[in-house]
């Protein structure tokens, strides 16, 4: 998913595509240095700086102008906390829209005073992280979404040129804020072409976001959203940010923003101090300009107009660094902490199957007992056995599945470092899980069995929550909805891929086709060809859509056989599928045997079974030749 065309209608996007832009410095630091009264100016709400757009617009505008005066291209609105959740802490949640709108109007007025044709000035609508960490359960998605939506609507009506979702601590919060902006834009009849969205995350001193997300995982989880830039602000000074900015420089294919503090903050004798002088700050920024392709530079805590004057002097006349030759990071899903590439070297993406109420008796019992800790232990066990991703299915008639999904997801995302495959047949259960999962999940699954309406609904979930999507080859056919033949598998896959990409804008690499594993173990003639049709279908889908992922629920193939036989048949069949182009499988990782460990005669007969080597007279594909079917290990 690429950013909007830089030649779109937004003047800000055009400026960003043509030259390096300088943002303003610290609003908070500037405000705290003014002599403002708690009772009068803050209406008794100490530290609620968002109120000042109402009580002291003169001071706020004066600060904006102090940065415009030294040559900054953009100012951030004084609306860091102007959403219903934060203002609620001061009993002022109903002012979110109004304060946001006022903040944008004030910044607009300041910019209009300084804008020229050669050097237009821009208003960026600041949206801070708020006071609640959603991944830790301090608030929930709907509450946070409406909180940010009020803010975004106010910022639009006040006339911002872009949204800047900044100081992000929590991936789930970022996803929620982006959706709030998109909803507000839609409501106002606008798009991100009119008002682009910028994201700036905060990487703490220990090298991750507050709750542990690496920059790689953040970039992977956010890449699917229509954002114009990604960058870093706050927590550390310019030097400490270098490592993460350089990673973005290599792997992020849109604009990069850097907005450091004036060094590492120190609380000295009760006061916060930032050590870097304007000259030292500018020197550190110069290193970025010389060694990486940073397109937007700002100052966070402790940066004064003097700091920004020094930066403006450095940046003067620099054109925007090219971003289009960047090789984006390989398509990945992520946990809260780290990313996992879809394509694994010398292996397939192993999706652990055991946390499934309809597939594991143990999991079902733990769910009944609500023994959440043991469920976490079970998940960890699968990761230890080699699973890259964990399937999670709590569908269980008679229980509140959405609640169970939330309970389990909330725990797994924090305690297990593996991306989740949220698995359910119910839209509400899927959404319950997705709205608690900060990382980039995989949804399992969408299909056409109930028509395009439900298919579309699940595609929208993938879009909203930034997830990848498994699509089963099932359609509305009243006789045989599940695709049994290679032809039908390819036909439905093609239809689904086209619809997901063209109608919903999902990336091909984020689609996982599940061409359906059906048992070959029943002895019924209808089922005899199931395995070989799947191998053939897989081969053709992989050829037609090279970027698409192909996955399957492997163990179904051996349904009803004894455990030892299942293990052998599953392993042999999987090997054939991977050779045909399967990139992933949902399995019990420790039960997959390397072919070398399977006895030759077991391997040979398993191959005969997969390819239905019965005599043609009884409908098979022909008796095996004397030595046929001995897989070469």
């Amino acid at each position: 998913m690429r950013s909007p065309d830089p030649l779109s209608s937004s003047p800000f996007a055009k400026a960003l595509a043509s030259r390096v832009l300088v943002l303003d410095g610290a609003m908070g630091t500037s405000l705290y240095s003014r002599d403002l009264t708690v009772e009068g100016d803050y209406c008794g709400c100490e530290n609620c700086t968002d109120i000042l757009v109402d009580t002291r617009p003169d001071v706020v505008q004066e600060i904006h102008e102090s940065f415009l005066e030294v040559g900054c291209d953009c100012v951030e609105t004084n609306s860091f906390g102007a959403n219903t959740l934060v203002l609620g802490e001061f009993d002022r949640s109903e002012y979110a829209y109004e304060y946001s709108k006022r903040s944008a109007e004030i910044a607009r007025a300041a910019c209009d005073k300084y804008s020229t044709v050669e050097k237009p000035r821009f208003v960026l609508g600041s949206m801070g992280p708020g006071t609640k960490l959603i991944t830790l359960g301090n608030t929930d998605w709907p509450t946070m979404l409406s909180s940010y939506r009020e803010q975004a609507k106010g910022l639009i009506d006040g006339g911002v040129d872009a949204f800047l979702i900044e100081t992000c601590q929590d991936l789930l919060q970022v996803k929620c804020a982006i959706n709030a902006c998109l909803q507000a834009l839609e409501e106002k009849g606008k798009t991100t072409d009119d008002i682009p969205i910028m994201i700036s995350v905060t990487i703490e001193q220990q090298g991750t976001m507050l709750i542990g997300t690496s920059i790689e995982a953040a970039a992977a989880a956010l890449a699917g959203y229509p954002i114009i830039s990604l960058g870093l602000n706050c927590a550390t000074g310019p030097t400490e940010m270098a490592e993460h900015i350089h990673w973005l420089d290599k792997h992020w294919d849109r604009s990069i923003m850097v907005m450091p503090n004036a060094g590492m903050p120190v609380l000295v004798e009760g006061r916060t101090e930032y050590p870097l002088t304007p000259t030292a700050f500018a020197e550190a920024i110069k290193k970025y300009l010389d060694t990486s392709s940073v397109g937007i530079i700002g100052g966070c805590c402790g940066t004064t107009p003097e700091h920004m004057r020094a930066v403006v002097e450095l940046v003067e006349g620099r054109s925007a660094p090219p971003r289009d030759e960047i090789e984006p990071a390989a398509p990945s899903c992520t946990s809260l902490y780290a990313s996992t590439e879809y394509r694994q070297d010398n292996s397939f993406l192993i999706v652990g199957e055991r946390c499934n109420a309809s597939g594991s008796r143990k999991f079902k019992r733990l769910l009944e007992e609500e023994d959440w800790d043991s469920i976490v232990a079970m998940a960890k066990q699968q990761v230890r056995e080699g699973s890259h991703v964990l399937d999670l299915n709590v569908d269980y008639a008679g229980r509140d599945n959405a609640r169970d999904m939330r309970e389990v997801v909330m725990r797994l995302v924090r305690q297990v470092d593996a991306p989740l495959m949220i698995d359910s047949t119910q839209v509400a259960t899927l959404e319950a899980g997705l709205s608690c999962a900060p990382g980039k999940c995989i949804i399992n699954s969408a299909n056409f069995e109930d028509g395009e309406e439900k298919f579309d609904e699940i595609c929208r979930l993938a879009k909203t929550y930034g997830a990848a999507l498994v699509i089963g080859t099932i359609d509305e056919d009243p006789e045989a909805a599940m695709a049994r033949t290679a032809d039908r598998k390819v036909e439905i896959a093609t239809r689904a891929i086209e619809r997901a990409m063209q109608v919903h804008g999902l990336a091909q690499s984020d689609l996982f086709i599940d061409p359906l594993v059906l048992p070959i173990s029943t002895g019924m003639d209808d089922d005899r060809r199931s395995a070989l049709e799947l191998v053939e279908g897989t081969r053709r889908i992989a050829e037609a859509f090279p970027e698409v992922q192909i996955t399957c629920g492997l163990s179904n193939v051996s349904f009803g056989l004894k455990p030892a036989a299942r293990q052998v048949l599953n392993s042999v069949f999987l090997d054939e599928l991977v050779k045909a182009g399967m990139t992933s499988a949902i399995v019990h990782a420790s039960k997959i045997l390397p072919l070398a460990k399977i006895e030759d005669d077991q391997k040979r007969v398993a191959m005969h079974l997969v390819y239905d080597k019965r005599d043609t007279s009884v409908g098979g594909t022909g008796l095996p030749k004397a030595d046929e079917g001995v897989a070469v290990a």
């Binding site: 001193q205 000295v268 800790d373 066990q381 056989l561 399977i598 007969v605 095996p624 004397a626």
Partner: protein, 583 residues
């Protein structure tokens, strides 16, 4: 080789007829094969007696009462305790001793034991009111470390002894009073510090003077078995025993009460006799080293000139970093999330929490840490964040300084020519002849150098919480909380050392990986008084005059330990060659 089930008996050259059905052949092939599949091992039902033991060994509280009630139909309550539950505790002790059981699980067993006794107690016949025996337990004067002593308390009291645990920093008169009052069968003294060994020694001499002969059990990290069983044993008129861990203490008490001290004496004599020549050589070397340290202490006491001591070859042309300010500053309001990443998990898991690897393979141990220990760590982090008992505070600062022989001269923060303090550090007698003073510009150079000092604390509330948990018999939790407090203080020291390096502009050599910081992958070093390179604890007095850590609630005990315990102080040295060394 199994017989081939294929139609043609020759597996290497099978041929197939038109009726060949791979599915049937496949099913046939696995008719007698279970090996690749998993077969759940059927656990046979345990007998009642086995279940009683299992409750203790597994630390399993679930259905404990039901099991005990059933047992009471057959056995008297006292029989249940003595014959079955204590038998389980004995197994726990053996497993612990052989490294097969981790301390937190031992504590879980102890908790179950306590629950079981509480359940049985109302049914017990009130007999002569005398338990198995009693002991007074104390951590000696000047020492605030009480975890080892408290473990002894847990194990002894759960094995039927009456324990009078009188706490930390106990002077000899307090200990003797407690013993006289309780008429205990023994006194147990504990201490973590090297200095505490000397205190124990003094206590034993004084008790002999007073004509006291009650058996004494000594324990603690700095005390060695040999020192205790040879030197200390000779000093005291009564019996002295070494307690390596709580279970050895238990065994000693059992022997004492059974009147079998002769067995213990024989064991000790055998051990002493067995010390090989090689060990004697080591002992001599140690004695020599001790003499050197004594000589150092003497020279320090007398202020004798040390000019004849040869300086090391440490580089003298290192640029002096610019101090961001002179004097000291107090820093508060630090977030725990900033500190947690600097916790050394190895020190916490293995050192504080005693999750030893034992006989586990590296893979098993990793799996064990991940499944069992890390969830506890996660829980502790959020719990201690939410309940606010960890209150990190720092006082730190920079002073002008110069090396003068073995001395480090510290100058006034304002008047850089006025000497205000002087540290004296020991010098290696051989090897590189290192001395901390060598890492600074010398008096002769005419240049001033910069010395960093830090003192960090996590506050007193975490000690209070630990005590509350202990008093509530929540032993496992007690161990976790105590360990977290101590390691958070270490983490804060590490974090602040990093901050100091950044402020001095020498942070560029820092490893980007936090675990490598624990191995000094950065420029310079941080030495705490008591470390091998600066063993003299009285340096703390000077640090206290300079930093005034009272401002963050830290005071020194008479042994120069910091109270609260979850605190640590250090010298910060910027010289690239400054690393840990032994004198």
């Amino acid at each position: 080789m199994r017989e081939s089930p294929l139609p043609d008996a020759d597996a290497n050259n099978p041929s197939y007829d038109a009726t060949y059905d791979p599915l049937q052949a496949f099913i046939e092939l696995f008719k007698d094969v279970d090996s690749v599949g998993s077969t759940a091992e059927q656990k046979k039902d345990l007998t009642l007696e086995e279940r009683l033991r299992a409750h203790i060994i597994d630390g399993e509280k679930e259905d404990l009462h039901g099991c005990l009630d059933q047992a009471m139909e057959q056995y008297k309550p006292l029989e249940i305790v003595n014959d079955h539950l204590l038998d389980g505790m004995k197994t726990v002790g053996e497993l612990f001793g052989s490294g097969q059981m981790q301390l937190p699980f031992v504590l879980q067993s102890a908790e179950v034991m306590k629950m079981a006794v509480a359940h049985l107690e109302p049914h017990m016949e009130k007999v002569e009111g005398e338990g198995k025996g009693s002991i007074v337990l104390a951590t000696v004067k000047g020492d605030v470390h009480d975890i080892g002593k408290n473990l002894v308390d847990i194990i002894l009291s759960n094995n039927g002894y009456t324990v009078h645990n009188i706490g930390i920093k106990q002077t000899l008169p307090q200990i003797i009073d407690a013993w006289k009052e309780t008429k205990a069968d023994a006194i147990g003294l504990s201490g973590l510090l090297v200095k505490s060994v000397t205190v124990m020694e003094d206590n034993l001499k004084e008790m002999t003077e007073q004509g006291i002969e009650v058996p004494v059990i000594l324990g603690g990290a700095a005390l060695t078995r040999h020192y205790c069983e040879s030197h200390l044993r000779d000093l005291y008129a009564g019996k002295v025993f070494y307690g390596r861990d709580a279970f050895e203490g238990l065994r000693t008490m059992d022997m004492l009460k059974a009147g079998e001290t002769a067995v213990l004496d024989t064991e000790i004599e055998e051990r002493l006799g067995k010390r090989s020549d090689a060990q004697k050589v080591i002992a001599e070397a140690r004695a020599k080293q001790a003499n050197q340290q004594d000589a150092f202490a003497e020279s320090k006491a007398s202020g004798a000139a040390t000019a004849e001591r040869v300086r090391s070859d440490v580089a003298i042309d290192i640029d002096v970093p610019v101090a961001p300010f002179w004097g000291s500053r107090v820093v508060e309001g630090l977030g725990l999330d900033e500190i947690y990443p600097f916790i050394n998990p190895i020190a916490l898991f293995r050192g504080q929490w005693q999750f030893k690897k034992g006989s586990m393979s590296p893979q098993e141990y990793d799996a064990f840490l991940e499944d069992t220990v890390e969830p506890v760590f996660d829980r502790m982090k959020s719990q201690l964040r939410d309940n606010g008992v960890l209150q990190p505070k720092v006082v730190y600062g920079y002073w002008p300084c110069q090396g003068d022989g073995d001395d480090l001269v510290v100058f006034d923060a304002q008047d850089h020519d006025r000497e205000i303090e002087r540290f004296r550090f020991p010098r290696q007698a051989d090897k590189k002849r290192l001395c901390i003073a060598d890492f600074f510009k010398s008096v002769e150079s005419g240049q001033k150098d910069v010395l960093g000092l830090t003192c960090v604390t996590m506050g007193d509330d975490v000690s209070k919480l630990a005590k509350t948990l202990f008093d509530a018999n929540d032993f496992t939790e007690y161990l976790y909380v105590h360990g977290m407090g101590v390691e958070c203080a270490e983490a804060l020291a590490e974090l602040w050392h990093k901050r100091v390096r950044a402020e001095l502009g020498i942070g560029g050599d820092d490893s980007p990986r936090i675990p490598e910081l624990f191995r000094q992958k950065y420029r310079g070093s941080r030495y705490s008084p008591g470390y091998p390179a600066c063993p003299d604890m009285s340096d703390q007095d000077i640090i206290w005059r300079l930093l005034e850590p009272e401002r963050i609630g830290c005071v020194l005990t008479e042994n120069w330990q910091i109270d609260p315990e979850q605190s640590t102080s250090a010298f910060v040295v910027h010289h690239p060659e400054a690393k840990y060394f032994n004198v």
